[in-house]
């Protein structure tokens, strides 16, 4: 991965956005690759080149990335991933120099200060987000709808959740969204964000049905984004409408 000289549109056109997918071998239980593909697609449709690094758990996490993705995983891989990321230090260094982190489900919990291990025991997280997670009584499984913090200006979230985690925020993190239908953090809020770090329980390919959230992450890197040709937005818009309507029909 080359050393960048800053993002955005320079005189010679846009420089590449560097996407880093953390540990697809451990944290990719629910189609998490979707987030990588959607970010890459939405950047390229705007003429912004993309460089992708898929970093397995036996590899070093580069610190020069622009957007880091961390996905969902089962209990054992989650603990192993947290341990490896602590030892590696690459992700924490990247976040402290201003990189974007988007973390999903188990990855969301790892980004916090603490989460529940396989027997419910507390396991230390990376402390990149002021949240603390534990194991709830019941699994939250099903379609989820949530309204994003209006400050962020992104459209309503639609997704699927499947987790037993309950997450409390400290003063250093704000809720990403307010739950309309579903479980989320367990207190009526969904996900959390602080600075350029955001996490959510909308599992797997959360950005697929939520291009607004994908664009928010991209804008944190390059600033204001040019629009995408509407013909490339039609299918996703249809999918969003179908899923939102399906939840309305059953609730």
């Amino acid at each position: 991965m080359e050393q960048g000289t800053g993002r955005g549109y320079g005189p010679g056109g846009p420089s590449a956005i560097r996407l880093v997918w953390i540990y697809p071998d451990l944290l990719s239980t629910y189609g998490d690759r979707g987030n990588l593909l959607v970010l890459a697609r939405r950047a390229r449709l705007r003429g912004i080149p993309v460089e992708i690094a898929e970093v397995n758990s036996d590899q070093h996490v580069p610190v020069e990335g622009d957007i880091y993705l961390m996905g969902g995983g089962e209990d054992l891989p989650q603990v192993l991933a947290a341990r490896r990321l602590q030892a590696s230090g690459g992700l924490s260094a990247a976040v402290s120099r201003g990189a974007v982190l988007f973390a999903v489900c188990a990855g969301y919990q790892i980004a916090g200060t603490e989460f529940g291990g396989p027997e419910g025991e507390p396991v230390p997280g990376l402390g990149l987000l002021d949240i603390r997670s534990s194991r709830g009584e019941r699994r939250g499984v099903g379609e989820i709808i949530a309204d994003v913090d209006p400050v962020l200006g992104a459209q309503r979230l639609t997704g699927f959740e499947n987790h037993q985690g309950r997450t409390q925020r400290g003063p250093g993190a704000k809720p990403l969204a307010t739950v309309v239908t579903g479980t989320g953090n367990g207190d009526g809020t969904e996900g959390a964000y602080a600075g350029r770090v955001a996490g959510t329980y909308l599992h797997g390919p959360a950005l697929v049905r939520n291009p607004g959230l994908a664009d928010l992450l991209l804008s944190w890197v390059v600033g204001t984004l040019p629009p995408i040709d509407p013909e490339h937005e039609e299918l996703v818009a249809t999918l969003r409408n179908e899923r939102l309507a399906a939840v309305r029909a059953t609730s």
Binding site: D25, L26, Y30, L37, G204, L235
Partner: protein, 419 residues
């Protein structure tokens, strides 16, 4: 079994006989009404009348259970075929009804069968093992599937491990799947089969200690604890099977693909427990051409369709492997009903890029999810209403069809059940 001929098995108490009789009548009614193959409804009613019916029906029989994420129905069929060479009746839930009611129905239908080969849903294996006191338990593989209903895969393996540690049965297990190997690791009597593993993405972590698993070709071991691939007796090597004596011979199956070679080698190992040699068992396996509609060729308006079932990422990987090459068109159909799993996130675990450059049609109740997935992989496609619509648009003498569970059943209902 019919309502007028109650089971002759002398061991059955009156209430159990009544339960199987009423259940059988309901199953027949269900078949006549055209609702399913009738194998579940009878079992459901029977169990309501007599909750321990499965134990009673299993008593005195030699039972083989077959479980795993993929290949259950096919392997059950291959084992049944091999055991059939002994000349005795073999009971089986051949159409994939693999929960308790389906097992009850299969045994009630064949009251005089002394042997039974039963596929079991992976979540129910421990309970079904306890109820049936099976002689052999067959473990194929474990990978992500219907995760909105199932617990985590590792928890499933842990339940298998606990159940097999205390059971008095022979275990035939795939040593190439680390989760399966760990699940069978405390069983008293295991025959290990090198049946291969195409999908690795649910087993990078040691199930025993949580450390990183190291892989070297087909071999694997944990870097931190003593957990490693056990020594194997049966081996799938390319297109050949190597038996415990070291003899190798070609499989020559009609069923396509690596996964079915794997299923066949496991079936040979099970047959061996019952004294069926490789030669007759293999001859029987080669007679199997389709399994509950899978791999079936059907004619539809001048187009020959081949029907492939794929229910999860590992299954799709194997199905995409066996597609005939371009330019033969492909139709994909995906639903997300309860038996499929309500969540379509798994679509993003499948690499569809190899469908580029051939006609692709997209159908099923969740075709929009599938379309968005293909768009991201830059695969050109057309959305169609159903298989007939695809045939009309394809103008091709042949088409490959891959569908997940209920989408597959819908296509079979439309094109006619052929076996």
């Amino acid at each position: 079994m019919s309502a007028s001929s109650p089971p002759s098995r002398s061991g059955l108490p009156l209430r159990a006989r009544l339960a199987t009789t009423v259940g059988g009548a309901a199953g027949r009614a269900s078949r006549l009404a055209g609702r399913g193959d009738g194998s579940v409804i009878g079992g459901v009613i029977g169990l309501r009348l007599k909750p321990d019916l499965l134990s009673l029906l299993a008593r005195g029989r030699q039972i083989v259970l077959v479980t795993g994420t993929n290949g259950k129905t096919t392997t059950t069929r291959l084992i049944s075929a091999a055991l059939g060479t002994l000349g005795q009746q073999v009971a089986s839930n051949a159409f994939g009804a693999n929960m308790e009611a389906g097992l009850v129905a299969a045994l009630a239908r064949a009251p005089d069968a002394t042997m039974a080969v039963l596929e079991v849903d992976e979540k129910y294996m421990p309970a079904m093992l306890e109820a049936t006191q099976a002689r052999v338990v067959t473990l194929l593989n474990l990978s992500r599937d219907q995760m909105d209903r199932a617990a985590e895969i590792w928890l499933l393996a842990r339940r298998w491990r606990a159940a097999l540690a205390t059971a008095d049965c022979r275990v035939i297990a795939n040593a190439d799947d680390p989760l399966v190997a760990w699940a069978a690791g405390q069983a008293r009597n295991v025959t290990w089969v090198a049946a291969g593993q195409r999908w690795h993405d649910d087993s990078w972590c040691c199930p025993n200690c949580g450390s990183h698993l190291r892989r070297d070709g087909g071999d694997w071991h944990c870097g931190e604890c003593p957990n490693r691939r056990p020594p194997v007796s049966w081996v799938l090597a390319g297109d050949e099977v190597i038996d415990p004596a070291g003899g190798s011979r070609p499989l020559d199956l009609v069923l396509p693909g690596r996964a079915n070679k794997s299923n066949a080698v496991v079936a040979l190992a099970v047959a061996d427990v019952f004294g069926v040699g490789v030669t007759p068992a293999l001859a029987a396996a080669r007679q199997v051409r389709s399994v509950a509609g899978r791999y079936t060729h059907v004619q539809r308006r001048g187009c020959e369709l081949r029907l492939l079932l794929a229910k999860n990422p590992a299954g799709w990987l194997e199905a995409l492997d066996i597609l005939v090459p371009a330019p033969v068109p492909v139709m994909l159909a995906v639903n997300a009903q309860v038996p499929d799993g309500r969540d379509t996130s798994w679509l993003w675990d499948v690499d569809y890029r190899r469908l580029r450059g051939r006609p692709v049609f997209v159908a099923g109740e969740r075709r929009t999810d599938l379309a968005v997935r293909l768009e991201a992989d830059e695969v050109a496609f057309r959305v169609v209403a159903d298989v007939d619509d695809a045939v009309t648009q394809a103008h091709s003498p042949a088409m490959e069809v891959i569908a997940n569970y209920t989408a597959f059943q819908q296509i079979r209902a439309l094109t006619g059940r052929t076996d």
